[in-house]
């Protein structure tokens, strides 16, 4: 765990950069985390990030990439185009939620 400042707030993050406390997340933080990941958030990215956030809040876990595609309606191919370094993992990190199961 390391402490860093995101959007003016001091937060704990694990070795891979996931927020330790998802409740501290804000949309301003999302933009900063996305930039670290080399992603400039378009409205389509935001749809996926908000979907991840919502899935986490309702089921307690973020979906892996196939489940994300099946439930969000965004195809796996498009998800990889949006988040080339691994869609579920990157979108989860940007959404401030824990790494989904079955992700690398």
């Amino acid at each position: 765990m390391t402490t860093s400042t995101l959007a003016g707030v001091a937060v704990e993050r694990d070795a891979e950069g996931f927020l330790a406390d998802p409740s501290l997340w804000s949309e301003a933080m999302a933009t900063e985390i996305a930039r670290e990941e080399g992603v400039e958030l378009t409205p389509r990215h935001w749809e996926v990030v908000r979907f991840m956030r919502h899935a986490y809040e309702t089921t307690g876990a973020g979906p892996n990439v196939r489940l994300l595609a099946k439930t969000s309606g965004v195809s796996v191919r498009e998800l990889y185009a949006l988040f080339p370094r691994g869609p579920a993992k990157t979108a989860a990190k940007i959404a401030g939620i824990p790494k989904p199961h079955g992700c690398i």
Binding site: A15, T59, A61, L67, V76, R77, Y80, A81, G86, G102
Partner: protein, 422 residues
């Protein structure tokens, strides 16, 4: 008289039924197992079928015959579960009521999830040994393969027995070498993981073994499509790997009926039971174990076995009106065949990654190191499966909680590994 219904009579469902039968009086509980067929296949044996070392009939026994006296067996295809009505509908229209439900229906292969996989070349130059038909068809193709590019490709991260494709690769390398054609074959191992395996210490050791055997490792490769006609697989980021013979592990889904059963599982069919008690949240009368759960634990027979002990303890407690106190720790134990008469044993749980040492204690089988003893252990396991695991007998030293005695836990504090995956 209350009824316990068990869906799926494989590695997990069978010991649950047998242990429950011993724990509960016949006058108190009826136990009913359902499966779509009566052919219990020892799945780890599929690994040897492509090399002609085993045949399907020798790996298959009657499911019914593995169940104790007093357990009923219903042959039928489960269509859906009605959680509110506590009933299971079969495809032929039969309805089975339950007081307690155990879902042990495994995972199903989803080859259609990968573009092109079941198109031209499927079962001709593109195979999987994860199904009985696939393993048998691959045996013919492998026997005739004496030169060219062999690609072993793992198509998703969520697969059962994640070590099996590595084992296949090591055994194929060994078989080709013995046949005298190793020099004419290029072998490539393709995986979406960032190394040979998920966890850092094991990944480094297994990656080293692949390199020693002259196998090229292509990692971080999320496969988008397989083109059997052109002999090529392609990743989502546009990288390509060419093959003459491809052996793939397709994506997996949960049991199909789960997606037709409101509230039972997620859109892929996996059941999100509590990782410790194995109960479905909101439904203390419903349990799941084995490959059908949505847990982060590996999908392996050893996991289904360790979970069966927890399910039985918690179901009996719930049955008797006591709180479910048994906890599953994510314990996983796998023998990994390396060819050359050796194997390697790994043992881990949710908190402790695979480490070197010995299992189940300081005097035991070597962990994470090639050994002849582990190879013999793997072969001996088949007999234990039929004669101890399925009947639900305890094997000394092999129990649900992961043992730490005998493990080099100090490696977890080594600076090279501290802080987890790098």
């Amino acid at each position: 008289m209350r009824r316990i219904l068990i869906l799926g009579t494989g590695t997990g469902g069978t010991p649950v039924a047998n242990r429950l039968r011993r724990a509960l009086a016949p006058d108190d509980a009826s136990i009913v197992c359902v499966d779509r067929d009566d052919d219990h296949l020892y799945q780890p044996g599929l690994l040897y079928v492509p090399f002609g070392r085993r045949t399907l009939p020798s790996l298959t026994r009657s499911r019914r015959a593995q169940l104790h006296h007093g357990v009923d067996f219903v042959l039928g295809e489960v269509d859906a579960v009605d959680l509110e009505g506590r009933a299971v509908r079969l495809a032929d229209g039969t309805s089975l009521d339950y007081d307690y439900l155990v879902v042990a229906a495994g995972a199903s292969l989803a080859p259609d999830e990968t573009e092109g996989l079941t198109g031209p070349g499927w079962m001709e130059r593109v195979f999987t040994f994860y199904s009985a038909e696939g393993a048998a068809a691959l045996a013919d193709a492998f026997a005739a393969f004496n030169g060219g590019r062999l690609v072993v490709a793992v198509l998703d991260t969520l697969i059962k027995c994640p070590v099996a494709p590595l084992e296949f690769t090591f055994l194929a390398e060994d078989a080709l070498r013995r046949r005298g054609v190793r020099d004419h074959v290029e072998i490539t191992y393709v995986t979406p993981l960032d190394g040979a395996f998920t966890q850092p210490i094991a990944s480094a050791r297994l990656g080293g073994l692949l390199a020693e055997r002259g196998v090229e490792l292509v990692s971080s490769f999320p496969t988008a499509s397989v083109d059997g006609a052109a002999g090529r697989i392609e990743s989502y980021d546009g990288r390509r790997v060419a093959f003459d013979l491809a052996v793939v592990v397709p994506a997996h889904d949960g049991p199909g009926f789960v997606t037709r059963s409101p509230g039972l599982g997620d859109a892929l069919g996996f059941i999100p039971v509590d990782e410790s008690t194995l109960q479905l949240p909101g439904h203390p009368e419903v349990f799941a174990l084995g490959d059908a759960t949505g847990l982060s634990t590996s999908k392996a027979g050893s996991v289904a076995h360790f979970e069966s002990e927890v399910v039985v303890e918690n179901l009996v407690a719930t049955f008797d009106g006591r709180p479910p106190l048994a906890r599953f720790d994510g314990h996983t134990n796998c023998f990994l065949e390396l060819g050359h008469g050796e194997a390697l044993l790994i043992d881990f749980n949710r908190d402790v990654e695979p480490l070197p040492g010995h299992y189940p204690g300081p005097v035991g089988l070597p962990l994470l190191a090639p050994s002849r003893l582990d190879h013999l252990g793997k072969l001996a396991f088949e007999s234990l499966y039929w004669h101890a695991l399925l009947p639900g007998h305890s094997i000394p030293g092999v129990a649900s909680p992961m043992p730490t005695r005998g493990k080099r836990l100090s490696m977890l504090r080594h600076p090279a590994y501290a802080g987890g995956p790098t």
